[in-house]
């Protein structure tokens, strides 16, 4: 059978969402940011809420998210996306407002804004792409960098005693009464992509119900920062990141669904 018999409009089963612009993504080959972008836009498209959605881009590799997502977006100062989103949402309570942030952005400089937006239960969605490193600025150590992991500012590996512990922001904010749905996902494999998409759907549902904040962490690779090939980085991620940042729902409908204590200690 000739493939041209297959490649026909009526046989189309997947194509890139229309809500991604035509610009070539600025990300490194194999970077999870791209997959995450596509998924969010797919959900916005499926829900038909392009005109009701306002996104907030961070400072980090995804600073240019507004070049790629075909929705109205605001680029926030480093770490302040949750405050920016709060400002928007409070004045436009019927819009869907989300932030898209990296781990340096959300868990280092933006810690206070993250915690307090979650604690206030702002009816926004936070997408948190955790790649354990500062990708944008050249692979420096992030608060999420694993013990012993090398980065340009921990060239001999992260030393807990002098550099502190990797932080589990998601487990922490899950405990704040303002969060309703908290989950940790990944996008390196097709099965994960499917789960993540469901999670994103769920997050938008929560936002619609205005019951509080939805928080979707996506553990992702930064192959450039980790100095690996994309494929190797995904394997390394499974072997090293997932044990410390286990995937799955943490809080659903305002109830913690995981034994956090054993996880945290």
């Amino acid at each position: 059978m000739d493939i041209n018999e297959i490649i026909k409009p009526e046989n189309l089963v997947f194509k890139r969402t229309e809500l991604m612009t035509d610009k070539t993504l600025s990300y490194c080959p194999g970077c999870g940011h791209g997959t995450a972008h596509h998924l969010i836009m797919e959900v916005v498209e499926e829900l038909g809420i392009q005109a009701d959605t306002i996104g907030v881009a961070p400072v980090g590799c995804s600073v240019l998210a507004y070049e790629f997502m075909d929705i109205d977006m605001t680029q926030a100062a480093h770490g302040r996306a949750p405050a920016v989103a709060t400002g928007i949402k409070r004045l436009w309570p019927d819009k869907y407002v989300f932030t898209y942030q990296g781990d340096g952005d959300l868990a280092a400089i933006g810690t206070a804004e993250t915690i307090h937006a979650c604690n206030r239960g702002e009816n926004i969605i936070i997408f948190f792409v955790n790649n354990g490193i500062y990708g944008m600025t050249g692979g420096q150590m992030a608060p999420t960098t694993l013990e012993g992991m090398r980065s340009s500012t921990s060239p001999y590996g992260r030393d807990l005693a002098s550099m502190g512990h990797p932080i589990k922001m998601t487990e922490l904010i899950a405990q704040l009464p303002g969060t309703v749905y908290v989950t940790r996902q990944a996008v390196h494999k097709a099965a994960n992509v499917r789960k993540t998409k469901k999670a994103i759907h769920k997050a938008f549902e929560v936002a619609k119900e205005k019951k509080g904040l939805a928080f979707v962490e996506i553990v992702s690779n930064c192959n450039s920062g980790w100095k690996m090939t994309p494929v190797d980085s995904n394997i390394w991620m499974e072997e090293n990141m997932f044990p410390f940042y286990p995937l799955g729902d943490i809080k659903v409908d305002g109830k913690i669904v995981k034994d956090l204590m054993s996880d945290l200690m």
Binding site: Q50, D70, D72, A83, V84, G87
Partner: protein, 356 residues
């Protein structure tokens, strides 16, 4: 129908904001301006006009809430005092860079550092030269009465939207804490049909997406953007505002703004009663600065004394306007101490008249 009240300057700002149809206020407590947030919370503006008021977790959060909300085309504001404004400077630079209209109130207190909570004018440079990074300017209004605290809210938003530029009301603890009578306009409804063509309100099919950003990785684009900003700042000159007192026949001129101008007014009265031909120019806009008016006067008077509650900041702008034509002196009281009319008179005698 207008209404007359006896009010603190801070309260007047808050009441004026509700009446001006402001959409949102985001702030964090700090003396001597906490009354703004407190008054708003007490007034339940969500019931009066639907105005949103939120106490943020910090000044940084507050200014970034303003940034986000301003980017949607709404009328939003924040207020703080000196240390809090310093914390907001990254955000202010972003807002200026992204060309968003908004209102920022600084009720200045004595510095540097934690300083005092007493009135000061030592944040002039920060307000007018861009305390944050990069080449940007705020529109800076300097109220000298409780009435102007109220009036400048509406004026500030008008100018902010005219130029799509952040506007600062640079007040101080004296104007913020004093009570005077103040006349209010009738309460306006919040604007519904504002220009949102550039704002992030949700991309509809009939337009390209709107983006609020100050980033231009290509320096060539950022250069162009800066030139455009500079053009805008030049255009603002058409909105320069100032008041003069007794300048017609003045031989010597005081230049002072805000609370210091109030004190100088009294000094002029006393000096006149002594037969000294003293006049006062009071900038109401600090940016744009009334440089032409001062330059013009500098051709008629023999000397100028800039009087500030600071170690000497606005005096530089006076000097730049005068460009060496006549002597420009400075009298200032930094740190939160307030000079009295007598102190000013003494300085006039020593510096201005003594020099001749």
């Amino acid at each position: 129908m207008s209404e007359i009240r006896l009010m603190k300057g801070n309260e007047a700002i808050a009441e004026a904001a509700i009446r001006a149809g402001v959409d949102g206020y985001f702030g964090y407590p700090i003396t001597p301006q906490s009354e703004i947030l407190e008054y708003l919370m007490m007034e339940r503006p969500e019931e009066r006009t639907g105005m949103v008021v939120l106490q943020a977790e910090s000044e940084i959060a507050a200014i970034n809430m303003v940034y986000g909300a301003a980017g949607t085309g709404k009328k939003v504001m924040t207020s703080s005092s000196s240390p809090g404004i310093s914390l907001k400077l990254e955000g202010i630079s972003y807002i200026a860079g992204a060309e968003l209209p908004c209102l920022i109130v600084n009720v200045v207190r004595g510095g540097p550092g934690l300083g005092t909570i007493q009135p000061s004018q030592a944040d002039y440079f920060q307000a007018t030269k861009g305390g944050g990074h990069g080449d940007y300017n705020l529109i800076v209004l300097a109220p000298a009465s409780v009435q102007e605290m109220a009036d400048f809210v509406e004026l500030g938003f008008e100018l902010a939207f005219k130029y799509r530029n952040p506007c600062m009301i640079l007040s101080d603890g004296l104007i913020g804490q004093m009570m005077e009578k103040v006349e209010f306009h009738e309460q306006k409804e919040r604007t519904k049909d504002f220009d949102q063509s550039w704002a992030t309100t949700g991309k509809t099919k009939d337009r390209e997406r709107n983006i609020i950003t100050s980033l231009n990785l290509d320096p060539e684009l950022q250069y162009e953007h800066n030139l455009k900003l500079q053009e805008k700042y030049k255009r603002m000159k058409e909105d320069v505002m100032f008041e003069t007192f007794n300048t017609e026949d003045a031989e010597f001129l005081l230049v002072a703004y805000g609370s210091s101008a109030r004190i100088c007014q009294k000094a002029v009265d006393v000096a006149r009663s002594r037969g000294q031909k003293l006049g006062l120019l009071r900038p109401q806009t600090l940016f744009p600065f009334p440089e032409e008016a001062i330059a013009k006067l500098s051709k008629r008077v023999k000397g100028i004394l800039a009087v500030e509650l600071s170690a000497g900041q606005m005096v530089d702008d006076v000097k730049l306007a005068v460009n060496g034509r006549i002597p420009v002196h400075h009298f200032g009281t930094p740190g939160g101490k307030i000079h009295s009319p007598d102190d000013v008179l003494k300085a006039i005698d020593e510096k201005l008249l003594g020099g001749f």
